[in-house]
């Protein structure tokens, strides 16, 4: 089985869609000659031409809104927001329009639109370029939110997104584009709303998405050295969210830990914790632990920045002290 990076998996998925379906086109800031800020669309312009690889003005609202309109007109647009932070300039189009049109039209119009956005901090970009805002979008009915952690899932979820007729926010963490993993040659998809047990364990459930899956995995390896068996669950999509798989893990381990990079207040982890206690309260041996990004705008200084994002050491010490293990 070939080993590729998340970046290569996304490139593969986009090319497949462009090759298969003439109604697919991509538009975004600097996706053409520049090749995309994170190089996912490098070489696309030469291969597919300017009609299908549209470099847009720096105007996020019309990028997303035009994607919505083109989708209503029978196309399958992919809009690349350079980062999720810039998505705030397109909030009206994403939340007020793309997410609502099917419902408000009584089902007459669908919006098959993929919005790709880079998320996450840790890249030395300071407060405005380092946010994890996917949880905000996940609170909106009508949207779907994908947050892959591996090349396999990045490709599988992207393929599912192309097969879906709804507006999808596809959040790609900036620091994991280079993460490698095995991806089969044969066609497969990864469904929305289905979590996966990445590591099986018996004492503690570590629940995470995107880059924090890797942090949780690293922490699980450390905790295993001390005889603490952790199960790592990758939820993969925030909306729909697979509470059933998460609850099943908690029913086995009786200890739930949510690891997320976003801020604690109102973070998606709060939703995960809330749903766990709704369906598995009796199975919990103690309070659910949340390990989150510090409640500060992310600082530029490298040392302080590192302190603001959960890492494996923090997960290990928090788990030990919280559960007295």
């Amino acid at each position: 089985m070939p080993t590729i990076t998340i970046r290569e998996a996304l490139t593969k998925g986009l090319k497949e869609a462009l090759d298969k379906d003439p109604s697919v086109f991509i538009m975004g800031e600097d996706i053409g000659p520049y090749g995309g800020a994170y190089a996912v669309t490098k070489g696309f312009l030469e291969e597919y031409g300017a009609e299908r690889i549209k470099d847009t003005p720096i105007a996020e609202s019309v990028m997303v809104g035009a994607g919505t309109g083109a989708a209503m007109g029978g196309m399958k647009p992919v809009v690349e927001l350079m980062t999720i932070n810039f998505g705030l300039l397109a909030m009206d189009q994403i939340v007020n329009h793309a997410a609502k049109i099917r419902y408000m039209s009584g089902g007459q119009f669908s919006v098959p639109l993929i919005i790709r956005a880079v998320t996450g901090g840790g890249g030395g970009l300071a407060a405005t370029h380092s946010q994890c805002l996917e949880g905000w979008f996940a609170s909106v009915p009508g949207l779907k939110v994908a947050t892959p952690a591996t090349p396999y899932d990045a490709l599988g979820l992207l393929r599912s997104s192309f097969e879906d007729n709804n507006p999808i926010l596809f959040a790609e963490h900036a620091l994991i584009y280079g993460v490698k993993g095995e991806v089969p040659e044969d066609y497969y998809t990864v469904p929305f709303g289905k979590a996966e047990t990445v590591i099986e364990g018996s004492s503690v459930s570590l629940i995470a998405y995107s880059r924090m899956v890797h942090v949780a995995t690293e922490a699980a390896a450390e905790l295993a050295k001390d005889g603490i068996s952790c199960e790592v669950i990758d939820i993969k999509t925030l909306r729909p969210f697979d509470i059933e798989s998460v609850a099943n893990s908690v029913r086995k381990t009786n200890r739930a830990v949510v690891v997320e990079e976003a801020w604690k207040t109102g973070g998606f982890g709060a939703e995960i914790a809330s749903q766990i206690q709704e369906v598995a309260f009796e199975d919990l041996d103690g309070p659910i632990l949340r390990i989150c990004g510090e409640e500060v705008p992310q600082p530029y200084n490298k040392k302080l920045e590192a302190m603001s994002i959960p890492d494996a050491a923090k997960v290990v010490s928090s788990v030990k002290s919280h559960f007295s293990l």
Binding site: G65, T68, G69, A70, M104
Partner: protein
């Protein structure tokens, strides 16, 4: 910048239309007028909820402009959308039932007055966030162009939308990609209660398109013939691939911003001056004076509209609410 001049006399304008076309204009404008008056009445009776923004006074714009479109052309509009929807061909009973929130409404009771959709006539929706419809129309311009079906997109905005960044982003994208989009400004002088000249720095509103190289023209929005002639010429150009166009129709809403608005911010004399230019009365007078129609024919049209609107209200009243289960329908396309 505009190549199209609209300087023909009204009489000359009338002559270039058949009696049938003119009576259709008349009927459509009167249909919108009576629809809106009935809607206000039903609102007062508690049968219509939420906001209700009526189009009364602006009928010549919707009818004159949208008559220049084909059924397959895309129409995108804003929250004051009843007139546009009816002019595009939405059945009055389907529109009224939507205002009542009934299952038989064009949006199945899920959108209401500000969100009228009808896929069968490419009525792509009323959008109630000011300016939000403009990027969507721009995107429909992309699909029209790429899929090559020769469709033109017409998108309406009020003068309140001029200050929204989404307009400027949309004009720019439509211009750089030469999209078949007609940006149609209905300048009724007020964005809610703000006079446009107090809140928009460009005094001649249509000039907002000029920095983008988008040609524009201004038209008398109280004259259905003037609107139709100007729009037909623009639609023809845009369909041939000339790129986007900007039209400003000068018009006036005879009623408040919504039914809750007594219009205290504007003078009664201003209202009276504009009401003397009522587009429906004007067309009626011109048609009778030019000997095209008899008074009887006008009466017949009016009674047929009265009957239609009464039927629409009856239909809306008698229609069922949506089923409970529909609360959860169509959040997603599954």
């Amino acid at each position: 910048m505009a190549k199209i001049k609209n300087n023909q006399s009204k009489e000359k304008g009338l002559e270039s239309y058949t009696k049938e076309q003119l009576t259709i204009f008349y009927r459509q404008m009167f249909q919108i007028r009576r629809f809106e008056e009935s809607a206000e009445e039903q609102y007062m009776r508690g049968n219509i909820r939420g906001f209700l923004h009526v189009y009364t006074g602006q009928e010549a714009v919707a009818v004159g402009a949208i008559s220049a479109l084909r059924k397959s052309d895309y129409l995108v509009t804003h929250y004051r959308d009843h007139g546009h929807a009816l002019a595009k061909g939405l059945a009055s009973k389907s529109a009224m039932a939507e205002l009542f929130g009934k299952a038989t409404g064009c949006s199945k009771g899920m959108g209401g007055s500000m969100h009228l959709f009808d896929k069968s006539i490419n009525l792509m929706g009323g959008y109630a966030i000011v300016g939000g419809q403009l990027p969507i129309a721009t995107g429909l311009g992309i699909s029209s162009k790429e899929l090559g079906k020769g469709q033109v997109v017409m998108v309406f905005m009020g003068d309140g939308a001029l200050n929204e960044g989404e307009l400027h982003e949309s004009l720019n994208m439509a211009a750089i990609w030469n999209l078949p989009v007609i940006f149609y400004l209905e300048n009724n002088l007020y964005g809610m209660g703000n006079h446009t000249t107090d809140v928009f720095a460009v005094k001649e509103l249509k000039k907002v398109s000029e920095p983008f190289g988008i040609p524009n023209l201004e038209v008398d929005g109280m004259d259905v013939i003037a609107v139709n002639q100007a729009t037909q010429a623009v639609v023809e150009k845009v369909r041939k691939g000339s790129g986007p166009f900007f039209i400003e129709a000068k018009t006036y809403r005879f009623r408040g911003h919504s039914v809750a608005d007594p219009s205290n911010y504007r003078g009664k004399s201003e209202e009276e001056t504009w009401k003397k230019r009522d587009p429906i009365t004007s067309l009626e007078t011109s048609m009778i004076q030019s000997g095209l129609v008899e008074k009887d024919e006008i009466s017949n049209i009016r009674s047929s509209v009265e009957e239609e609107i009464a039927d629409a209200v009856k239909f809306a009243l008698e229609s069922p609410d949506p089923e409970d289960a529909t609360l959860y329908h169509n959040v997603y396309d599954s």
